[in-house]
Symmetry: C2
Subunit: 341 residues, 2 copies
DNA sequence: CTGAAAGCGCTTACAG
DNA sequence: CTGAAAGCGCTTACAG
């Protein structure tokens, strides 16, 4: 491996000058720089990252730590996020470290990596209320960015969807079409995004002066299997059935479609369906039958902003300027029809 | 951050002794060690990885570099491999760096990471004939392990499926059931695994004294869409149709099932289907209708051996002891029926 | 059994 | 504009 000293010897300049020439400082003669660059190239010199890290204190690496291996139904989510982040960080010259835990020790893992100075910063996903990872990172003043955020918590950098608005848009579409009994198949209650969706749901229903039937709100995971299960319970015989259902994501919606079909119910004639679409590779919501009306926000599009925010946070920007929310786009297709009354 | 020196000062011992005590060398008094460990714990000392790396020459990191973002249909494969490798390396105390390229510069990326001494070793996936990555790594004598291998190439460590045997088992099942016109929907011709599958196919057909019709061998990617397309061409009107088809993976088989159904053909009555099953999250081959007969080899199970081989290679073991092949398990279900003649 | 010294490959004040 | 020196935090011969 060629070192700085090798280049210094070969050119006759000192290591100091070589270092500065190569880093583009302007206190080096143009000619000197040219000569040094030429030799460095000829010798195929590359600065040793580890040495540089030791002196600068920066590791050039950022990490994503998952508590446990994603569930099988989450593979699309994992794929979009991990591939996207890796590319986004690569483009910024940072190495992306992925740690998939075994479910026992996320916090310990974060702490170990923090203490070892191994990473310059973290991406935290699926924050929960009073998330211990976030508290730990905050306590140590370690740079990190959160995908999602706990409402009202302004202590950290985050990139979040406007989940309140997501539900409001969904309710608006349905209410405008005359629906009054609207069900909500929501995600895990522990996620802040789900709380925000719930808030938006209640707010919009109130705005349209529609009653909310608590038995029409179901929590669970984001799998098609959960969609099937939730839909079955919603359509149970003898119940006052909803005329419309809002699904927390496209997999759940696929489950709802399947269940409705099995029950001999037609979408949208007998049941209107609206879902939030993260644009996962498993389900193309435009290819469903009928094409699904969605609030859309591609998960993949979160990678670039997330990387950008983390880089800026590492550079020392205050968190107050690093809190970004984006609104979903409503894509009306054929899964909602006007309720005849 | 607590450093070695801090611990040295606090205990009154030298940095040398502290280092050795903490690393468990046996030339330190039991009492000294105890005292040092106690103080180190109290001070929450963790050796700084970067510094350690600089002196030992080991980075404690290994990497997987993907040329380009996986296609949408590959997300299950990506998921199994990446999550599996991350967990396997974590369990061995190594950080897993994932680099997803933009399709323009895989080799350059490998070279940069090699030259910077950033990684201790690599996992190389989807090797192709005369793979430039492999040649580069070999030329520099850099540790790496390949998932798959080019037949007869004994220059590197690898973990591979016995792809020849995969095809032989598939043909055996079909031929034993009386099938003579057997089609093969194969993967991309550039992969060595595909060449091995082809070899096994020809060998087994010859063993059963069955003619091979070249027009019954179709190459393409491993998506369901390709399965649909290939099946359509195989069943084109006016052709002498195959009675059985072997699919390179379960997604392709799903496409074949769908096409057969659309054509009004019944599996297995009109068409027998056997596929290779990597056990991806997208397709549960036992849940298809009818349940699919497969040669099975869970992709996820490759992660541990791959990590193990790379660690041993990094430790200096010769490649000759690090070349592992495993055989697929035949799982007979209901997609093959006896051909009545 | 313990410690002083050198060094891993770089960067960055500080002089000149 | 250029260089000698110190130092990032550790490990490892080498003495004693």
């Amino acid at each position: 491996m060629t070192t700085l000293r090798d280049v210094a010897k070969a050119t006759g300049f000192s290591a100091t000058t070589v270092s500065r020439a190569l880093r583009g400082f302007d206190d080096v003669t143009e000619e000197t720089r040219r000569r040094i660059e030429e030799v460095a190239r000829a010798l195929n010199y590359r600065p040793h990252q580890v040495a540089r890290k030791l002196v600068t204190g920066r590791s050039g690496m950022v990490g994503l730590i998952l508590a446990e291996p994603p569930k099988a139904f989450e593979h699309g989510h994992f794929f979009e996020l991990v591939a996207g982040l890796s590319m986004a960080f690569s483009a910024r010259g940072l190495d992306f470290v992925l740690h998939v835990g075994d479910g026992t020790d996320t916090l310990a893992t974060h702490e170990r990596l923090v203490a070892r100075g191994a990473l310059d910063g973290f991406v935290v996903t699926f924050p929960v209320a009073d998330d211990p990872r976030i508290e730990m990172l905050l306590a140590r003043d370690y740079p990190f960015v959160v995908h999602g955020h706990h409402r009202g918590d302004a202590r950290y950098a985050y990139f979040d969807d406007d989940n309140r608005d997501v539900s409001e848009q969904a309710v608006d579409v349905l209410a405008a079409a005359g629906h009054r009994r609207v069900a909500l198949i929501a995600g895990p209650a522990i996620w802040p995004s789900v709380a925000a969706r719930l808030e938006g749901f209640h707010a919009a229903m109130a705005r349209w002066q529609l009653p909310v039937d608590p038995s029409l709100i179901v929590h669970g995971d984001t799998s098609a299997a959960h969609g099937v299960e939730a839909c079955h319970s919603l359509l149970a015989p003898g119940r006052d059935r909803p005329t419309a259902v809002i699904c927390c994501n496209s997999l759940v919606a696929a489950g709802v479609y399947e269940t409705a079909r099995r029950r001999g119910l037609s979408v949208p004639r007998d049941l209107a369906v609206v879902a939030h679409d993260d644009v996962l590779p498993q389900v193309r919501t435009d290819a469903l039958d009928p094409p699904l009306t969605v609030t859309r926000l591609a998960l993949r599009d979160a990678a670039e902003p997330l990387a950008d925010l983390l880089v800026r946070r590492i550079a020392g920007e205050p968190v107050s300027t690093l809190q970004v929310t984006r609104k979903a786009e409503l894509v009306e297709r054929n899964s909602v029809s006007r309720l005849r009354d």
